[in-house]
């Protein structure tokens, strides 16, 4: 067990005993990861901030129930996912690629401009997946979790996660095909 893990376990024990300062140390440590994960799920800063905040409040209220069968991060992300899936985000229309590109980015060198275009395109297309497909894909690609870990976080079987990822990738491929034909990807 690393020193960091020991430290986290110690903080958890104190937080469970009602020590808010110890819990706040966990907030400092895990907030960037949690925020960026939720941001990628909802693709909106205001919603991501709100959901990150709600996740921490819920975690604090239930910290005594955390039985340490999984890592704290897994438990925290699970709360975040549940809140995000239940959160009635104002459905924003997917930005058209041309609109999403700022004037500033149009003055970038060609290679950089194309890279940004590709990124914007993928970001928009990701929002076309179902919430569960997007969650599984983000956990797999960005958090680099194994299928087993994703299953644990999402409360699903490994087989169900595999199936979600197959469908997510197939849909992404289908949606990005026109861009691929135009040589954008």
């Amino acid at each position: 067990m690393t020193e960091q893990q020991v430290n986290e376990q110690d903080l958890l024990r104190q937080a469970k005993a009602g020590n808010l300062s110890a819990f706040e140390s966990l907030v400092v440590k895990h907030s960037p990861g949690l925020y960026s994960f939720i941001y990628r799920l909802v693709n909106n800063q205001t919603d991501a901030e709100e959901l990150t905040q709600q996740t921490w409040v819920k975690a604090w209220q239930n910290i005594s129930r955390f039985q340490e069968r999984s890592s704290f991060k897994t438990w925290l992300f699970r709360i975040g996912i549940n809140l995000t899936l239940n959160y009635k985000t104002r459905r924003r229309p997917v930005e058209k690629l041309a609109e999403s590109m700022t004037i500033e980015s149009k003055h970038l060198p060609e290679e950089e401009y194309l890279r940004k275009r590709r990124q914007e395109l993928v970001r928009c297309v990701l929002q076309e997946l179902t919430a569960e497909q997007r969650t599984a894909l983000i956990l797999s690609v960005y958090e680099q979790l194994s299928y087993k870990e994703i299953a644990q976080i999402m409360g699903k079987s490994v087989r169900a996660v595999d199936s979600l990822l197959v469908r997510a990738k197939a849909k992404l491929h289908e949606l990005l095909l026109p861009a691929k034909k135009r040589g954008l990807i």
Binding site: A15, K16, A17, G18, L20, F23, E24, V27, V28, S31, P32, Y35, S36, Y39, R40, Q45, A48, E49, T52, Q53, W56, V57, W60, Q61, N62, I63, S64, R65, R115, R118, Q119, V122, R123, L126, S140, V141, Y142, S146, Y147, D162, L165, V166, K169, A170, L172, H173, L176, K180, I185
Partner: protein, 158 residues
């Protein structure tokens, strides 16, 4: 007739190929993520060597993943942690997380309860015995009368 038979053969072979592709496409995601069994990996690789369409799909999946990975992680707003901490302090005022006893304290609590129950039983039976002695003494000290005799007789029957 020969032409028809060859057309039929081609159709059957096309259907078989489509079925094989469908099966392999289900494994391609896990293959691209490197979470596939050795046996299935062999099957996928054998198929990919013969099927340019599936090989292209695998390349597309890899490209999509690469583009996804170039998207930088969103920056955490600088005030977010402070806001969370402030909200948690507010929460603490109205709500304290449920305190859970450690197993050692739970065990000690259980021992204490058992001890208290045992003590109660012992004290109860001791008191009952003492009461019995007092009853016998009061009978012995009582003035002989018909009423007392009746009570003593009843006590003897009990």
């Amino acid at each position: 007739m020969k032409k028809l038979r060859s057309k039929g053969g081609a159709l059957v072979s096309n259907i078989a190929k489509m079925k094989a592709c469908k099966r392999i496409k289900l494994l391609l995601s896990a293959y691209a993520d490197g979470v596939i069994s050795t046996r299935e990996k062999g099957r996928v690789e054998k198929h990919l060597a013969q099927c340019p369409e599936c090989a292209r799909l695998l390349q597309d999946l890899t490209d999509i993943k690469e583009v996804m990975l170039t998207i930088p992680a969103p920056e955490t707003p600088p005030y977010l942690v402070t806001r969370i901490q402030a909200q948690l302090r507010q929460e603490q005022k109205k709500f304290k997380p449920r305190q859970v006893l450690t197993p050692v304290w739970q065990l000690l609590g259980a021992i204490l309860v058992i001890f208290a129950i045992g003590l109660g039983i012992m004290l109860g039976s001791a008191l009952a015995r003492t009461n019995g002695i007092y009853t016998e003494i009061s009978f012995l000290n009582a003035e002989p009368s018909l009423d007392n005799l009746f009570v003593i007789e009843n006590a003897g029957q009990q």
